[in-house]
Symmetry: C2
DNA sequence: TGCGTATATTCGCATATTAATATATAGTTG
DNA sequence: CAACTATATATTAATATGCGAATATACGCA
């Protein structure tokens, strides 16, 4: 009974199921950035960043625009930024402070 | 620069990064259900369902209540149902029909 | 064309996820 | 306690994901 739509949704979630990709999407919530800018801001390895960006591309989370030598990335839909905002609320609702969260998720 | 919060968020996304778990969470959006009810409704194998429920438990997406022989599952926070609702909008915004979506995500 | 910069892809390897099967535990009832 | 129902866990094998190093591609410019 998990059908195609469930698979599509799971694909989106999987695209976001890595801390680096979450960081990338959050960075892009403020507007488009080139791959190089993302690498610099987030302190990523070039190849690693490129791989994560490939995942986000393949799951259609981001779209790209080439400007000369650079490739600019942007969120395909700001709703994904909203999703992240909802999650922020989720954390605040359930965990008084980060230590609790730490214990809850790791313990 | 992907920090702890990014990791926590990624954990939640990973919890939802499987079609069966998406189906479970959507089913629970309508209210608590026992493991057995979920298995029946979604047509799951018992062990498989239990493993996916274990993932949802470990990531704190669901909480459980034992009533005699049965274990009832409920969403820990309805915000996750909201997240899924947002995703539904996302799909409608970007894909005229399911065939397009199919092509986009698989092709 | 050849060089430099920006980005993407490939490869090898370690770790993680998944499904299926089998087994174990908790609770209920006789 | 034995038998039964509901749920959970362990094991194994297949597949997927993640990372760093190296290599490849794309573009702009001399």
């Amino acid at each position: 009974m998990p059908d195609r739509l469930h698979r599509y949704k799971a694909d989106i979630f999987q695209a976001l199921a890595h801390p680096t990709r979450v960081a990338i999407v959050e960075a892009l919530a403020g507007g488009e950035l080139s791959a190089g800018q993302l690498i610099e801001r987030l302190g990523l390895e070039q190849a690693n960043a490129s791989q994560h960006l490939a995942v986000l591309r393949s799951k259609r989370v981001v779209e790209t625009r080439r400007a000369g030598n650079q490739v600019y990335y942007a969120l395909r839909d700001p709703v994904l930024a909203d999703v992240l905002a909802l999650l922020r609320d989720y954390f605040f609702a359930h965990f008084a402070d980060i230590a609790d969260l730490n214990t809850a998720l790791r313990g």
